[in-house]
Structures are given as C-alpha cells and as structure tokens.
C-alpha cells in the first residue's frame, strides 16, 4: 500500500503554499486587526480566484470535488501562515455538511461558496461560540439535536474577546421561530460530522503553526548572537527546537490518518480525529512554549511575529473539543466492551 501523497496533492500544496506565504504576511494579518470587520475582503476574493473556496464543493456545483485527504495538506499551509479567513472551516466542515444535506440547500449555497460570493461561518454547541458569525453570509450552527443554517437576519451575534486577535468570536442568539434544517438522528449525525471535521481542521492547522514557530525560532536563533556565536549553536537552545521537531513529526501521521478515515467514512474516524487533535495540538503547544523560551524576552513583545502563531495554536487547542474532550473519546474507544486493541487496530 502506498501511503505517500500523490503528485497532484503535493503540487496543489506547493502552489497554495507559494500563494499563502506571499499574500498572507504577518503585516497583512496585523492590518486586519485594525479594520472594522477584522477581515480582509480582498484576501477572500483572492482565495476564491485560486479555487480554494470551492475545493471540496462537488463539481456539479462549480467546485473541484476534492476530499478531506486532498485538503488536509492545504489546511496545514493555512496554519503555517495563521490564515485568519475561515477557509478551513468552510472547506472541511460547511461544504461537506451542505453536500450531505443535499437538495435545494446544497444547490442554493454551494455554488455561491465555490464562487467566493458567500462566506460561511461554523459554530457548534461544543465550542459555545461561532467564529466569524458577524462577518458571514451564512452561519452553520450545530447542536446535538438540531442543525441550523442561518442568514444574518436570523440570528444575533454578540462579540466575545479571544486570546487571538485574528479570531472573531461570537455568542449566537437564534431568532424566535427559525426552524432547524435537520433534527433528531440526522442532526445528531451531522453534529458529529461538524465536530470531527472541525477538529481535523484544527489539528491540521496546528501542524502548520508548529512548523512556522520552529522556522521562526530557527531563524531567530541563527541570527541572535551571545558569547560571539549564534545562540542556536548552543545545545540547550537547539534541543528545545529538536524536541518540537520530533513531536511534530510524530503528529503528522495521525492527522493524515484521520483525514483518510473521514474521507473513507470509516467507523473509527471519530477516535482517529481525537488522536490527531491531541497529537497535533500537543506539538503546537510545545512549539509555542519552546519558541518563547528560545526567543527570550523578545518573544513576549507585540512587535515580534511569534505571538500571531502562538495564540492561534492556543486557540486551536480549545476549538472543536478541548484536550479533555478528545482524551475522553479516545478512552471510550479503548475501554469499550469488545474493543480490538493492538497494532493496526487501536489507532
């Protein structure tokens, strides 16, 4: 069995990386913090022109019809630049859920999403808050027994501060009388899908964030001199980053595994996602902690870009289920009656 990504998947990753690294610079992200909406409409338009907003939209609705495995590498690139726009939630959560709902809803919204004309925000009861709810044209709000698709006049969004200035979080009050688009068992299955897909997106972004923090730290410690040498040459410093690199490498396979499981609609997808989320967010948290260490006092300053990635990593750890939630899911799987454990089955 060939576990490597295909030539096309890698080509897409490289193309998207070039685009994002050149266009989503820390300066541009800082610019959005000063804007009224906190978002950059020009950037969303560019993402649409690249075909990214429609990447998972089925071809019959104007997209490229790609799956979770195709997108997971791109989500890592989104993490690498700390993309503030809700592209990952759109491609990995909203579009597949709308596709699953099918019918008129899919026919109405998917072409608009693919064309970049409608921004979608995603929120779920597990998070309590919805990112970008006040900046979107459509809000997908998932509860365990009800799934809502809301246009801006159908809900009220109350702003909540986030540790990450790039995140725009809102509590949602749904207007009276607005019916859910799915209830009961269908809503429960879709709620699970929202949670798993959102968690996979957060995990993939955490990988990219960890890599960016390693790169920033390597660059800084190669330039910053002490005792006549770059501080990166001292073992105590380089071991910090080597530990992160090892943790990151071990987190990549679970994330790919989870994407593969979701793409194949495997029954074990939920705990594969939890494993991925735990491993990736641990790597990103360690990257944040050790990067701060090797940056010294400079790491705490607003001017140094490190905090853009560090705060996003913290946010990713808490979104779509925190550590406790995902550990619980893994534990339930392992301790379940009749659980088949061992190599090739546990994870």
């Amino acid at each position: 069995m060939d576990f490597t990504f295909s030539e096309d998947q890698l080509l897409f990753r490289d193309s998207v990386r070039d685009f994002l690294v050149n266009e989503v610079t820390p300066e541009r992200i800082r610019g959005t913090w000063e804007s009224d909406s906190g978002r950059d409409d020009g950037l969303w338009r560019q993402l649409a022109e690249m075909g990214l907003t429609g990447i998972t939209v089925p071809e019959e609705h104007g997209g490229l019809g790609m799956n979770e495995l195709d997108f997971v590498l791109l989500a890592q690139e989104c993490g690498y630049v700390a993309l503030p726009e809700p592209l990952v939630n759109t491609a990995l959560v909203a579009v597949p859920v709308l596709t699953q709902l099918g019918g008129e809803l899919a026919a109405e919204w998917l072409p608009q999403i693919a064309a970049g004309d409608t921004r979608v925000a995603v929120g779920c009861a597990e998070n309590g808050l919805a990112e970008d709810a006040a900046q979107c044209g459509l809000l997908l709000w998932a509860e365990p027994q009800a799934l809502y698709l809301l246009t801006p006049e159908q809900f009220e969004a109350r702003h909540n501060a986030s540790v990450d200035p790039s995140r725009k979080l809102y509590a949602i009050d749904i207007a009276e009388g607005v019916p859910p688009v799915a209830t009961g068992e269908q809503a429960a299955a879709l709620y699970q899908a929202v949670l798993d897909r959102g968690a996979l997106g957060a995990a993939a972004q955490a990988l990219g964030l960890a890599q960016r923090m390693i790169d920033l730290s390597v660059q800084y410690t190669s330039e910053r001199q002490q005792f006549g040498k770059p501080i990166g040459t001292f073992q105590a410093v380089k071991h910090h980053m080597a530990n992160v690199a090892v943790r990151l490498e071990y987190a990549k396979a679970p994330v790919t595994r989870a994407a593969y499981a979701l793409a194949g609609d495997e029954s074990r997808a939920a705990h594969a996602v939890s494993h991925a989320k735990l491993a990736a967010c641990e790597a990103a948290n360690l990257a944040a902690k050790n990067s701060i260490q090797v940056h010294g006092a400079m790491g705490y300053t607003w001017e140094v870009d490190l905090h853009i990635f560090m705060k996003k990593a913290w946010a990713m750890a808490g979104t779509f289920g925190d550590t406790g939630f995902h550990k619980q899911r893994v534990a339930e799987h392992i301790f379940a009656d009749g659980a088949v454990l061992g190599a090739g089955t546990t994870f």
Partner: protein, 249 residues
C-alpha cells in the same frame, strides 16, 4: 497572432544557493526548482495579450531535461495553450538554446516571441539577443511595456537614465524586465486543466541542431562573507575615511 514564450527551469528565487563541496557546480540536491521569474513575466504578458484578444494562441517552450516539463505545466496553468519541450541533457549554453528556439520558431511561425531578459541562475542575458540575430527578427529587450499596434509592436525599454520606446515590425522578439507586469498565481482549477493540455517533445535532432559546448565551468564558489563595519568617532573621521580609504568622495 501566435505568441511563443520561452520558460526556463531554475532554482527558486527564495532558495539560498550553495556551491557543491568540491566547487564544481551549484548544489541542486533537494533544492526547490521553479520557473525563472523573468520567464513568468513573459508568460503573463502573453496571456494578457490573449485575454485582450490580440493573441490567438500562446505556446510555452522550454529547453532542458524531462524535469522542465514541470515548468511548462506551470506556464500552461498560468494560461498558455500548449507546450513544447526540447529535450536536452545537462546544462546547455545560451547559444545552443537560441539555436533550438530558432528551430521551434521556424516550425511554429509565431508573430511574437517573448522571453525573460535573463535567467536568475546563469544571469547571461544572451538568449533573446542571440535568437534575434539568428532569426533576423527585430528585438525589443528589457521591456517594461508592450503594445501591439497592427503589424508593429511598441516596446518601452528600461535603459540607463530613463525609458526608450522602440517600434518593431512583427514578427519580433521581446525580452521582459521586472516591471512589465505582476504575474498571477496559477489557480487550482487551472493547474488541473493544464495537465490535459498538449505538450510535444522534440529532440535537438528534430530541429536540426547539434548540441555543442563551447565553455567549461572551472569553479563555483560563494561570494566572500561581508566583514563587520567599524564605528567612527566623529563626522571628520567619517569624511576622512570616505575620502582616503574608501575613496568614494
């Protein structure tokens, strides 16, 4: 109007180039390769001419090993209609590239050939001019603006001290400077479409060209590391050093 665009595979401009340990060449192991930035500008200009309804077909051509098909595909993803690879082994000199391109020009009969003014690896700045000499076509080098006007093309050139506009009779050769345009990104749908576009492969023999080498590379070494500067005590000392040591004033 048919437009031929030459593209070259080079080390990505973001990569810090290193010499091999034995100094025989640049180390290309695990190095990211990309389309030469000036060639990317050439492709963009050709595609814009097509979008403006001036050009009817854009053909991207590259000379090199099979790997250069990657750069032809990039050009196709940016909007070129079809590609041609002239397959050669090892590095080829500008004169050989110009002769091979002349062969392609004779086959395709384009009205306009657009090339980058130079590649960022060899920095020779020769191929466009040599192609002009070999084909006897008019040439406008270092273009910062290209305007087609009937049977002529007006090329604004970046020259020392200002801009020079020349009018060339078509068919003509244009080499691009940095400010001609800002190339677009290849969108994902276009990358997919590019895989299905026609790509022909020719050998030098197909074009009647013998690949010969006139130069041998003796040594490749990195530039000397910059030395640390010094602090001067006052303005007088600074002026003295600029006058007597640096001899720049």
């Amino acid at each position: 109007m048919k437009v031929l665009v030459a593209v070259k595979r080079v080390v990505d401009y973001n990569v810090k180039v290193r010499a091999k340990g034995d100094g025989s060449d640049v180390d290309l192991n695990n190095v990211k390769m990309a389309i030469n930035p000036f060639c990317e500008i050439a492709v963009e200009e050709a595609v814009r001419l097509k979008e403006a309804g001036v050009a009817t077909e854009v053909i991207a051509v590259s000379v090199g090993e099979k790997a250069c098909q990657e750069q032809i595909r990039t050009a196709l993803a940016l909007g070129a209609d079809r590609g041609i690879q002239v397959e050669t082994e090892g590095s080829v000199e500008p004169l050989v590239v110009a002769k091979l391109l002349k062969g392609v020009v004779e086959k395709e009969q384009p009205q306009l050939v657009i090339l980058g003014k130079q590649s960022i690896d060899g920095d020779n700045n020769q191929t466009g001019q040599m192609l002009g000499a070999l084909t006897n076509m008019a040439q406008g080098t270092f273009a910062s603006e290209v305007k087609i006007d009937g049977e002529t093309v007006n090329v604004t050139r970046e020259v020392d001290g200002g801009l020079q506009t020349v009018q060339l009779k078509l068919p003509a050769i244009v080499t691009t400077d940095l400010r001609l345009n800002e190339p677009r990104y290849a969108s994902l749908p276009n990358i997919m479409k590019a895989k299905k576009k026609q790509l022909d492969v020719y050998s030098p023999a197909d074009l009647g060209v013998e690949v010969k080498s006139h130069l041998s590379q003796l040594k490749v070494e990195p530039p000397a590391e910059r030395q640390a500067g010094i602090k001067v005590e006052d303005v007088d000392q600074l002026v003295d050093k600029l006058k007597n040591e640096a001899k720049v004033i």
